[in-house]
Symmetry: C2
Subunit: 228 residues, 2 copies
DNA sequence: TACTAATACGAACGGTCGTGCTATTATCTG
DNA sequence: CAGATAATAGCACGACCGTTCGTATTAGTA
């Protein structure tokens, strides 16, 4: 069954493959499946060691495939990083954004907050919030990766702001509140929870920040019982 | 044993050839000056490219000295990173902490906030807040560098909290306020300002967050005019 | 079953990494 | 000024980086 004889392969003619990276574009099911497996592992590794600290060699040996075999799925390291960011985005949307979109207004805003906190608390990424780390790592590295992260973060902030504005129009949030500022503060508090939990290994951080965010929301809606 | 080199120095081991890093401990004025110059440049570079992205080769050629000449000032890369963190700490204390320590209570707390915002706004480090970046970069890398960062961040949070508690005892902050939470929220907002300014290249971020922090302080002191 | 394209692999490249040696220069001291 | 010592440079090392190339294996199709 297994022909181990070394047959001369004269039939192989150099058929001028102009560019190797072209190959990454025409993929069949098997390749796609491998690619997904690579990205799943890559996202986890990158959340721990950073997008730049994630090296192709380490990733390959973690998956027990060859470096060049892995590399062939992406044209370059930058392409790999972009794909990793995209994969992380999908997971984030799945866990945080999409479940909240069945609600509207204040309910959606609360759901986004709660989902984010639970996303951090349950360690969806083993190294903490992927985007907190990535945006601080790439804020001074121009290129496609940075551009992608910027766009994603803008969309996320826009998501928060949109829900808040919706709530305001529905009269759930007081008219004087600056919804843009509110969205930003929520995001800052959430990132603070991630920061504290990672740096101090303090799982309690999410509980504390949940309180902070709820308090801030109460203040925005006018039900601020803490001022009584 | 060599009789002529018994100085009034506490040399633990008599001329151990193996340990090169010992050299870094006994330094004369000239070496110290070079060391400071190295660290000054290193802090700036590290704030841009990260503590791990800062390599000895790049640092040396940026200073136009030899790699080995630079390396001799530190026993290892980890030592260099620790020294860089320490240098950054000195600058931070100088710009943010010390000027606020002439005040007490609420005034000190306000000064700490304002100094921090101005520290971010005036780009004391060209790559934004050194510690925001470093703490997220090293939160998953065990070692001396991480330990040092953890300790510094705890001290900084403690500083904020201490001033807030002082203010509370002086009756400047309402009794019901959790000063620990207040300190944390200020820190989170400040880091958020840094994040936004770096990622979105939005210098306005500091102005916005200044508003957020003042509003939060007003709420804590009871002069919350925004709720009127 | 044979052919072909997709996929994976091994080896190697030029570079750069951190880190040692040794030699040379600069500075200080007696 | 001579000699000692601190400070810096030159050079080389092994390891790993991203990347390329040729080839072997696999799977889909004629």
């Amino acid at each position: 069954m297994k022909p181990n004889q070394q047959r001369a392969k004269e039939t192989v003619q150099p058929q001028r493959r102009t560019s190797r990276s072209m190959k990454a574009l025409q993929r069949r099911p098997r390749g796609l499946k491998t690619r997904r497996a690579i990205l799943r592992k890559a996202v986890n590794l990158a959340s721990l060691e950073g997008l730049e600290g994630l090296t192709i060699g380490k990733l390959a040996s973690a998956l027990r495939i060859s470096k060049s075999g892995l590399f062939a799925h992406f044209g370059s390291k930058e392409d790999l990083q972009c794909a990793v960011v995209d994969e992380a985005r999908d997971i984030f949307v799945e866990k945080v954004v999409r479940p909240a979109h069945q609600f509207h207004g204040l309910k959606r805003l609360r759901a986004l907050c709660e989902n984010w906190l639970s996303y951090g608390e349950t360690k969806v990424f083993p190294g903490g919030c992927f985007f907190s780390a990535a945006s601080l790592e790439f804020d001074d590295r121009p290129g496609r990766v940075r551009d992608q992260i910027v766009e994603l973060m803008k969309k996320w902030l826009g998501n928060l702001e949109y829900a808040a504005r919706d709530a305001q129009l529905a009269g759930e949030i007081r008219k004087e509140v600056d919804v843009r500022q509110l969205a930003f503060e929520i995001q800052a508090l959430a990132m603070g929870a991630n920061w504290s939990s990672r740096l101090f290994r303090d799982q309690n951080a999410f509980r504390l920040v949940r309180g902070s965010i709820l308090q801030r929301l109460d203040q925005a809606t006018g039900t601020a019982q803490s001022r009584r």
